[in-house]
């Protein structure tokens, strides 16, 4: 997936969990939890949704690496190259 596709996948995952958010209004450099009022359960659901959309399974210890939109996209792009489907 291109970085743009990954970004769209993350945004889709976020709006799936929190339908009321405006994707255009997300600041990619600010923490998602605070910005979008996402709690741990919401976040877990976002991770599950990302898994469904990208096939990438984010381990629990890496959750902090997904704290902003830019970070999440960067993390997923890196994860994609490491675990490229064989």
């Amino acid at each position: 997936m291109t970085e743009q596709e990954l970004r769209e996948a993350v945004i889709a995952a976020l709006t799936q969990v929190a339908p009321d958010i405006d994707p255009a209004a997300i600041d990619p450099t600010i923490g998602l939890a605070e910005q979008l009022d996402i709690d741990s359960m919401d976040f877990l659901n976002v991770v599950v949704a990302i898994h469904e959309r990208t096939g990438i399974e984010v381990p629990e210890r890496d959750y902090p690496k997904l704290s902003t939109l830019d970070q999440a996209v960067g993390y997923l792009a890196a994860a994609q190259t490491q675990h490229a489907p064989s």
Binding site: D20, S40, M41, L44, V48, H51, E57, P59, E60
Partner: protein, 395 residues
């Protein structure tokens, strides 16, 4: 019309899922009701055949009104509602299993402290009902001290300063306003009637979190557990050993809840709060509890809870840790008698056996009704929660 919460005095029937002649079983969802806090699926409590739908969709009726009649197959229809009759305030002795232990609704709050009837003008009473204002909390300034419409409007204005206009649909705005009012009424009643006492205990979470980390490593992303599941489960198991924390204070007496229906305080994304029940939480595996909580939170936020979930939590848990606070002194949800709160899990200096270490620590708090229990019991309850958290494999 079932009572779907202690703060509900009427509801609007939105939709019937059954029609006359349909066979129904106890637990079937028969109707959708708007309580002004949420749209709730109403379950039926009797087996039988729907005889007649009495209330038409779109109609607002008071709690206790007959919505439909149900006949036993082959027998003449009994005037049974799709609900237990008006929430029986005085049936504490009824064994829990057959009837849902519907928390009795507040009697029309028109009795003053001194036992005299509060004077309320008919218009004020009507407006108070529309706005969800508790008349007992309003000071009358009208004819012979009667509460007038102006007094109600003043009380509302004081209780809730006008919210800044939000670009929400009018219906949503109305729903939010109604929910705010409902919360205001209920919390005011709690603080007015319930002599709260508060205890707090810091709990070392290193063992349960380590266990959880290992557990989650073995699990696919869709089956992962959250620390919140441990906390909820610990409370559910602990309260089994402390039944005086699990139940209702009604008519000057404590009525044990019997089963453990854990109220899960859930903030709604649009604003507001709802605390639906996770039924029989003490009998759930962690995995079931996790799935159940996720389902409950999702449906709470979508406004699709079931009647029993709204009406029968026996104790409530609020977890504000995700919001970063260290501890929460909760307000008990009447007529329940206890509320357990959890703050954030934080790394803190922790002294054990003369050595100082850094441990993940959570502050558990208990807000309990002093009419139903004493600090000693409350202290034991928190200690039991700590013990349960430290044996996560048994949860």
């Amino acid at each position: 019309m079932p009572s779907l919460g202690a703060d509900m005095d009427s509801g609007t029937l939105l939709e019937w899922f059954v029609k006359p002649g349909d066979e129904v079983k106890r637990g079937d969802i028969v109707a959708l009701v708007d309580t002004s806090k949420a749209e709730i699926e109403v379950e039926i409590f009797e087996d039988g055949v729907i005889d007649e739908l009495i209330v038409a969709p779109g109609t607002r009726v008071p709690v206790g009104a007959v919505l439909a009649t149900v006949g036993t197959a082959g027998a003449p229809p009994a005037p049974a509602a799709a609900t237990p009759p008006a929430p029986a305030a005085a049936t504490p002795t009824a064994p829990a299993p057959p009837a849902p232990p519907a928390p009795p609704t507040a009697a029309p709050p028109a009795i003053a402290v001194d036992g005299h009837r509060v004077r309320v003008s008919p218009l004020a009473r009507r407006v108070a009902q529309q706005l969800g204002v508790d008349l007992a909390a309003v000071t009358g300034t009208g004819f012979e001290g009667a509460i007038t419409r102006a007094d109600i409007e003043h009380a509302v204005a004081v209780a809730s300063p006008p919210a800044p206009p939000v670009p929400a649909a009018p219906e949503v705005a109305h729903r939010q306003e109604a929910m705010r009012q409902a919360i205001a009424v209920l919390m005011a009643r709690s603080k007015r009637e319930i002599p709260h006492y508060y205890l707090e205990l810091q709990i070392d979470m290193s063992r349960p979190l380590e266990w959880l980390r290992e557990e989650n490593l073995r699990r696919p992303v869709t089956k992962r557990l959250l620390p919140a599941a441990l906390l909820l489960s610990a409370v559910a198991h602990a309260v089994v050993e402390m039944p005086e924390m699990n139940g209702f204070w009604v008519d000057d007496a404590f009525h044990p809840g019997g089963r453990v229906h854990l109220g899960v305080a859930t903030s709604l994304r649009s604003g507001g709060l709802i605390a639906p029940a996770l039924h029989d939480a003490d009998r759930m595996s962690l995995e079931e509890l996790m799935a159940g909580t996720q389902d409950l939170v999702q449906r709470a936020r979508a406004g699709r809870l079931r009647s029993s979930e709204m009406s029968d939590p026996t104790i409530t848990v609020t977890n504000l840790g995700d919001r970063g606070v260290d501890l929460v002194h909760g307000v008990i949800y009447p007529p329940q008698v206890a509320l357990v709160g959890f703050g954030a899990v934080r790394e803190r200096p922790w002294a054990v056996n003369g050595l100082l270490g850094v441990r993940p620590v959570v502050t558990a708090t208990l807000a309990a009704d002093h009419r139903a229990s004493d600090g000693h019991a409350g202290g034991r309850f928190l200690a039991i929660i700590e013990r349960k958290l430290n044996t996560p494999e048994e949860l």
